[in-house]
């Protein structure tokens, strides 16, 4: 068995392309399935990402498709590339194709599955065997065990379900893929990425999130002060996003980001089902809310019934 993992990467503030941490969790899922692991890096000017991928522990080979057609991982061009790699490898080739359930992975992989005429299994949280996986449905209110009989199993991986493999220690061969699939039906126009010195939400060890109880966007400054003290990322509930306090890319929940940090501090968040779906796998959960009946306390390891505007500055001073 050989497993093809599609690497995800992002562009940092110095305009360098860096391997997305979720790729390490995806390789961990591949290792659980068992077999040789190949990593595909598709993009334009991605040699640094390919070098990083070659160092990942347990990776046997890195395939690099460095071509303008794959810039910003446009799915219309990357999907035919992946499908062609699978078809060229033939029956003895790839048994599984994995990608992290990041916005790129979720965008590209269903297109690959449809091109290969197989169903996709989305956002697995555990590997039971080479053909059987667990995944949350109904916003995590139920866990389905799914068995696949597809010739090639196409799977996205929820990063929080797997501990990442080491980013160092591997020495995979790097092989160039010359094929350029430019379908010519889509093009990249631009992007506006939030610039922040704080850790990325889905990769942070500590996350501090604010909800409707923050009252307005300006009050998030209290959370920033605490987060800077703890080296934490900042999240928000959907209620806070819908109220316009903070941008949507900070949303933690069923319809936003799924996080599972070592410590999750929910501030002024009532704990709607859809928010819990995004954070209930965190190792330690702290809830600070003045409503002692708030459902968030039912999942919190440590609950503090207090006015957040007094508690948060005090906590920032003590932490």
């Amino acid at each position: 068995m050989t497993i093809l993992v599609i690497a995800d990467y992002s562009t940092d503030q110095q305009d360098n392309k860096v391997l997305a941490p979720a790729t390490l969790n995806t390789v961990a899922a591949a290792a659980k399935i068992g077999g040789d692991i190949h990593v595909l890096v598709a993009g334009a000017f991605v040699s640094a990402v390919a070098q990083a991928a070659a160092k990942i522990a347990g990776v046997a080979k890195v395939l690099v498709a460095d071509n303008a057609a794959y810039t910003h991982q446009l799915p219309e061009n990357v999907a035919p590339l992946v499908a062609a790699l699978v078809q060229e490898a033939g029956a003895a080739g790839y048994s599984h194709i994995l990608a992290a359930a990041t916005s790129n992975g979720k965008n590209i992989l269903p297109r690959v599955a449809a091109q290969l005429d197989v169903d996709q299994i989305s956002e697995i949280i555990s590997v039971e065997s080479a053909d059987t996986f667990k995944r949350p449905i109904y916003a995590g209110n139920a866990i389905a065990t799914v068995q696949s009989n597809a010739a090639v199993k196409v799977i996205t991986v929820r990063a929080t379900g797997f501990d990442p493999v080491s980013a160092e220690g591997g020495s995979a061969a790097v092989e160039t893929v010359a094929a350029a699939h430019d379908v010519g039906i889509s093009s990249f126009v631009g992007e506006e990425l939030a610039k922040s010195d704080r850790p990325e939400l889905t990769a942070a060890k500590i996350v501090v999130s604010g909800g409707r109880g923050m009252q307005n966007g300006d009050n998030f400054k209290h959370l920033y002060a605490l987060a800077d003290k703890l080296g934490a990322a900042i999240g928000a509930s959907r209620a806070a996003v819908d109220a316009g306090f903070v941008p949507n890319d900070m949303q933690v929940g069923q319809t936003g980001k799924i996080v599972a940090p070592q410590l999750y501090i929910a501030v002024g968040i009532s704990g709607a089902i859809q928010h819990l779906a995004g954070m209930k796998d965190s190792k330690v959960i702290v809830a600070i809310n003045k409503d002692e009946e708030a459902p968030i306390f039912q999942v919190a390891d440590y609950g503090l019934v207090a006015d957040l505007f007094e508690a948060i500055p005090e906590m920032a001073a003590l932490a």
């Binding site: 297109r111 039906i185 069923q254 440590y302």
Partner: protein, 249 residues
């Protein structure tokens, strides 16, 4: 131009679902069903494009049981012109749904197809991308803004860390994210008028599409329950516990 909107009948988002005792699935007996929230946003976007004079006709389609006619009537009340139900009693995979939608796209030839980014029951987030692949169209997934000009559409997408804009040649596929718009409510006169709008029912078999799946659900379980912890009395006690008991800060 013609817009096709796909909608799904799902358990209402306010319902807390329970897993069946025999682990065969979740219990949907006597549970309130509604249009998937992301599909409501898709209908709204199409209606706005028609109000702006960009779209001339909105066709709404659903793949599902005959009761999905309720959700199609809702879409008609919101402003869609006519509806198609591809009736199928089975639980279909996203690929099967995409294949059936492709058959509808071939027949209707829309310039734009708008779908929700994911359904809140299966949480797959696949159908739009798969339909795009099968049709050979470009895809603008997780859209927060849709701007049509000439023979292309600019779609601003919600991505990890911010927003990205892509330009797609029409015809194209768009899947909606939460912030694309805020769906309206149907007015009573429009609900009455919707009853007279055309609703065509076809069977999945009649479209000549194979809906065989390459995977099956072995069992469905309730997630591991998280037990409630303790209440602390002060910030000082909280910080002390986090440092010395949980050892996370």
């Amino acid at each position: 131009m013609k817009i096709l909107v796909a909608v799904k009948r799902v358990v209402d988002y306010n319902v807390k679902v329970r897993v069946k005792a025999d682990n065969s699935g979740v219990d949907l007996a006597n549970v309130k069903m509604s249009m998937n929230p992301f599909c409501e946003i898709a209908v709204e976007e199409a209606v706005r494009l028609k109000e702006q004079g960009v779209a001339t006709e909105i066709v709404v389609v659903s793949i599902g049981p005959s009761t999905a006619q309720e959700q199609l009537r809702t879409a008609l009340a919101l402003g869609a012109d006519r509806a198609i139900l591809v009736e199928s009693a089975e639980d279909l995979t996203s690929l099967a749904v995409a294949k059936l939608l492709k058959a509808v796209v071939d027949k209707e030839q829309p310039q734009l197809v708008i779908l929700g980014k994911q359904a809140i029951d299966s949480d797959n987030n696949q159908t739009g991308q798969m339909l795009a692949a099968l049709s050979g169209y470009g895809q603008g997934t997780f859209a927060s803004k849709v701007d049509i000009s000439g023979d292309s559409v600019a779609v601003t997408r919600e991505v990890d860390g911010g927003a990205q804009t892509v330009s797609l040649k029409l015809p194209a596929i768009v899947t909606t994210d939460l912030r694309l718009n805020e769906p309206r409510y149907a007015s009573l006169p429009n609900i009455m008028k919707a009853k007279k709008k055309p609703l065509e029912v076809v069977t999945a078999d009649a479209l000549g599409v194979s809906t065989a799946a390459t995977h099956s659900t072995v069992k469905v379980e309730a997630p591991a329950a998280r037990s409630a912890g303790i209440k602390v009395k002060s910030v000082a006690e909280l910080v002390e516990k986090l440092k010395n008991e949980a050892k996370v800060i």
